[in-house]
Symmetry: C2
Subunit: 223 residues, 2 copies
């Protein structure tokens, strides 16, 4: 890459970035039996690893699932958690169970993202140690997500699992925390809107109600 | 935007995304007395609001600091936390105090990002409720960060503050959690490497040691 000091992005490049941001979707429907080349996976991991991290702790760890039995065992954990959620979700249970919530069995590549055991970094983490580690790992996943969309392949972040059971299954140290199962691979088509919107589960809220000036608004106040 | 189904990114567009990912830096040095236009700020917030969120909860809230006294009060909180960190950091205290850790007073725009009080979303959040909310807000910040670099302006995520004190200062509800102070604005130049690397505080670790197959490695094992 050119010297960072000399890189000045053009309007066209800015527009490309916004196009990727807008086209990224949380995918659950994949083309079964498809594959992703090692080159593409390398680019996705490289994108993730370019993420910022508080105190430069780089807390992200990636477990690429290649073994079929491991994938099957993970899929069972997700099934279990979907059932547990259905039982808690109350009135909308049957509607919930109609949603396609994961693509663990059909996606071309499955990657677990695990938060590494705390390395003791203090800089920037004295008051919010756990939170800053989580946020750093999440930035890495968002980078990977955008990189996947730019490769024209889907990525879905599945958080429907018991982290202790998933950690045990993947032989993680007790102090590590699995935070994501990333389903990655070719899709038939990208959702036009977020899938939960398309399926009528929930509407998106506009930015206007989330942007305040100088302080949190008083209830009912329009800033 | 064109129909998402029809958007196929080209190699050139992919390369643009990776260029932005690689050129993004956590900035602490800003051009004082500079400004950022409302148009640019609109594009940054729009980028943030395109982020994914677990169960479509969209937990991010942005408080744009326009009042000088509010900014001064925030700067004092950050100073306080830097002192508290210095006292905990032990042997490297004097080296730590030489680092430039925030640009709160000099950046053109200061934005606090606050995690909204939990809205009770269950989908995808039964086992990791707090973590999934945090990760969603972090993805929004990463989007904003990339958008800022593409505008050729800097962004620095400052996490050196006591969240309770900052929440009180910004009149946030008790259940809300400030997670970031974003310093945004023109910079003299972008750091070539992460500032903590440039200053000799810490080295980056390579991706190779963070990418595993099927399970967490046994200590000392090379996969």
């Amino acid at each position: 890459m050119a010297n960072n000091k000399q890189i000045i992005f053009s309007k066209g490049e800015r527009e490309t970035l916004h196009k990727v941001l807008a086209a990224r979707r949380d995918m659950r429907h994949f083309v079964s039996g498809s594959s992703v080349s090692a080159d593409v996976m390398d680019r996705l991991f490289a994108a993730a690893h370019l993420a910022p991290s508080v105190g430069l702790m780089q807390p992200w760890r990636f477990i690429q699932v290649q073994n079929d039995q491991v994938r099957k065992d993970i899929a069972m954990l997700v099934d279990e958690e979907i059932k547990a959620t259905a039982n808690e979700i109350g009135l909308r249970k049957s509607e919930f169970l109609k949603l396609k919530l994961e693509g663990v069995r059909t996606c071309a590549q499955l990657v677990a993202v695990v938060l590494a055991p705390d390395d003791g970094t203090i800089l920037g983490r004295r008051t919010l140690p756990r939170e800053t580690a989580l946020c750093s790992a999440a930035c890495a996943i968002e980078n990977m997500w955008l990189a996947a969309r730019a490769e024209n392949i889907g990525l879905g972040w599945v958080s429907l699992f018991d982290p202790k059971k998933l950690g045990a299954l993947l032989h993680c140290p007790k102090e590590a925390l699995p935070i994501a199962l990333l389903c990655i691979g070719p899709v038939h088509e990208f959702y036009e809107k977020p899938m939960l919107v398309q399926e009528g589960w929930r509407d998106e809220k506009p930015l206007a109600g989330m942007l305040f000036e100088d302080r949190w608004p008083i209830e009912g106040e329009v800033q």
